[in-house]
Amino acid sequence: MAHTAHRLARAVITPTTIVLAVIVAIAVYFIVQRYLYGLGAVTNINPGYPWGTWVVVDIVIGTALGCGGFAMALLVYVFNRGEYHPLVRPALLGALFGYTLGGFAVLFDLGRYWQAYNLVLPWYTNLNSVMVEIALCVMAYILVLWIEFSPTVLERFGWSGLRRFVERWMFVVLALGVLLPTMHQSSLGSALLVMGTKLSPLWFTVWLPLLYVTSALAMGYAIVIFEATVVSESFDLPSEHSLLSKMSTVVGGLAAAWLVFRYGELIWRGDFGYALVGDLKAVMFWIENLLMAFAAIVLLVPAGRASKRASFLAAVALLLSGSLYRLDSYLVGYDPVGNWHYFPSVPELMVTIGVIALEILLFLIFIKAFPVLANARPAARNA
């Protein structure tokens, strides 16, 4: 823990935060509607598509984008690469909100949310359920993330005794912080295994759990690159690019391995023809993979890695690819029995956008309220 992190000495209320707050307020309005009049009044989800954007974007994609904490914990603490430590706190902060709000968003989508507490009653737990595994694991991981992040908060308030206690036992929490995402990120893929022939062969494979967890990991690193670049550019802070470009090899390698495995498996099982039929599914498949290939090439080529702009674009491409992979496997590549259609309604979309806005808003508030960023110099007027 050689480095020190600082609070970002900027105004908390800015035009950006006001706009974000307004979006959040709109989402809150629709969430109230949902609780007053039910899911049908607000969403377009139906018996054919019981999982809409609230599940797919807020939870499946949201937690994958929140894998920065997972990825950095694995790199820094498991592979013992201490030089990346300055990136851990912002990564954890992003993960914290990605997961907390994802877990929170589940409550909007649960039809009988008042029964949700039964999940944590062991005598009701169905241990054969992938959903239970995801639910319990995500709940536990949210707790782990808050503990992982707690030294930052304790440091801010100067509670050094408690902070020392937490840091002494942190290795246990960190181990869990690597184990739990491995479990539920792969389970988000396992959840699709029950779809069987409802899911296009372009996505359906027994290797879904592996593809899910490895792409989540790649997205975890990509979000760190993305977030560090956006923050340093937006607030004119010193660039962390030299650190990021070193890490880029790992991301590029993961992306390339993911692609090779995906194509290899698809060809080996003889379903590659589905990628050539030219329908929406095939087009989405190619968009996903070309974005991933772009990210892999840019991050593996030294010149691409060195360019801040190129590596930022590569990170964005990777995040888009991973998000589309999830969107496609849960919605686009999925054909329910019966002629069902689904596209999110405006209120449904506004809630999802509101959740994302709240994540960004809380991130912006936290980097100003707590010592998160290593490159934020202590401002003279805010000593």
């Binding site: 670049t229 550019e233 010149a303 702009r309 930022f312 596209f343 405006v346």
Partner: protein, 392 residues
């Protein structure tokens, strides 16, 4: 009034306790081998077929057990003997238990042991002996053209034979479509002028059990009912017992849900035919034919054994206006509800697709993200250019 009815026999008082306390495994008649239990079971089954109470079953058993078995005279006309053949293949009871235990089949043109004058003399003797008490059963049509010469037994025309036998009959039953209304030989151009029994003796009540062949149990049930209650069961305007001919085949057909859902077989052996869809479009006459075929089936081999059940459209054998008149594959006149011209789409689109508002929200969000990214990239580009050397 009530006392008169009681004496008439139709509501004869029976001490049920006394009847049920008898030894059920004792043979009802010496040398026949039918136990009282078997007889009771048979009569209870008959009563159930006709929608009567169990008490009626007991009454039937009582009637069947009576010392004097009711005599039956059975005449054949223009026909294939399919009705008798069908009756020979009934198993509850078998024909032999019917004719040996329940009734006394004193004369039957094709089943009698004697032949020639011997048989005819016996018939006349029995008709004389049981005058006013025997049941006359007619099977087959009756030719009327050329003085009825196209069907003769013992030198007498069928018209004469029917009139002669009907004279002293307590009840007259026509079995089969030929005896009921002329059957296949009465089909256009009807060269022999074939008619049903009722048309030969228009002033008498004739119970008709049409069908080609009819279900033997409809006949047996009617006979037992007549023997038990001394009267004919409730008839419709065509003279058919309502218990068997009161409902359209269409109403009880196991394929009816397919009709209502618009799933039809269009050709023999096509997908719908193999799936067991409705046979209406193959010409099934179930929608205009009154019979209980789907409910009781044929051949005593279990459910679904009747023409429609095994994949052939009903041809309306019990209906004068349908069988041998309408082409087998022409559409039936639906007497209940005609199928609608358009059915709900089985692949109806469900759920809600993209609305313009939702498209605008998604487009807006993507636009904002792309815009913000582009601004960021352009800022970065300037620095990349200036700091390029340092970074590489």
């Amino acid at each position: 009034m009530a006392a008169t009815r009681d004496q008439a026999g139709s509501s004869r008082r029976i001490d049920f306790e006394e009847v049920l306390s008898r030894d059920l495994d004792e043979p009802v008649k010496a040398g026949i081998g039918l136990s009282r239990r078997e007889l009771m079971k048979f009569c209870a089954g008959v009563a159930a077929t006709m929608g009567l109470s169990t008490a009626a079953g007991v009454r039937m058993a009582e009637a069947a057990e009576a010392k004097e078995r009711p005599p039956v005279i059975w005449l054949h006309g223009q026909e294939c003997t399919g009705c008798s053949e069908s009756l020979l293949r009934s198993y509850h009871p078998t024909l032999e238990s019917l004719i040996l235990d329940v009734i006394s089949l004193d004369y039957h043109d094709t089943l009698c042991v004697g032949a020639g004058h011997q048989a005819l003399d016996y018939k006349h003797a029995m008709m004389e002996k049981h005058k006013g008490k025997y049941v006359l059963v007619t099977e087959g049509g009756c030719p009327t053209k050329d003085g009825g010469i196209h069907c003769k037994v013992g030198g007498k025309t069928q018209i004469e034979l029917i009139k002669e036998a009907a004279e002293g009959a307590a009840a007259i039953i026509s079995i089969g479509s030929c005896a009921s209304w002329g059957g296949i030989q009465s089909a256009d151009p009807n060269p022999t002028g074939a008619k049903g029994t009722q048309e030969i003796i228009p002033d008498k009540t004739v119970v008709k059990i049409p069908g080609c062949p009819p279900n033997p149990y409809n006949f047996l049930s009617t006979v037992i009912y007549v023997l038990t209650f001394g009267k004919v069961p409730e008839l419709d305007q065509e003279g058919r017992p309502k218990f068997a001919y009161g409902r359209l085949i269409h109403e009880n057909c196991e394929r009816r849900p397919h009709f209502d859902a618009g799933r039809f077989a269009l050709e023999f052996g096509d997908y719908g035919h193999r799936q067991g869809f409705c046979l209406y479009k193959l010409g099934c006459k179930g929608p205009e034919t009154y019979a209980n075929c789907p409910a009781i089936g044929f051949g005593d081999v279990g459910e679904g054994q009747w023409p429609v059940g095994i994949g052939h459209p009903c041809f309306g054998c019990v209906e004068k206006e349908t069988a041998f008149t309408k082409p087998i594959h022409s559409l039936a006149t639906v007497k209940t509800y005609a199928p609608p011209a358009a059915f709900p789409d089985v692949d109806m689109a469900l759920g809600t697709g993209m609305s313009p508002g939702a498209a605008a929200v998604v487009g807006g969000a993507v636009g904002v993200a792309v815009g913000a990214g582009a601004v960021l990239l352009s800022k970065m580009g300037k620095k990349d250019g200036s700091e390029g050397g340092e970074q590489a």
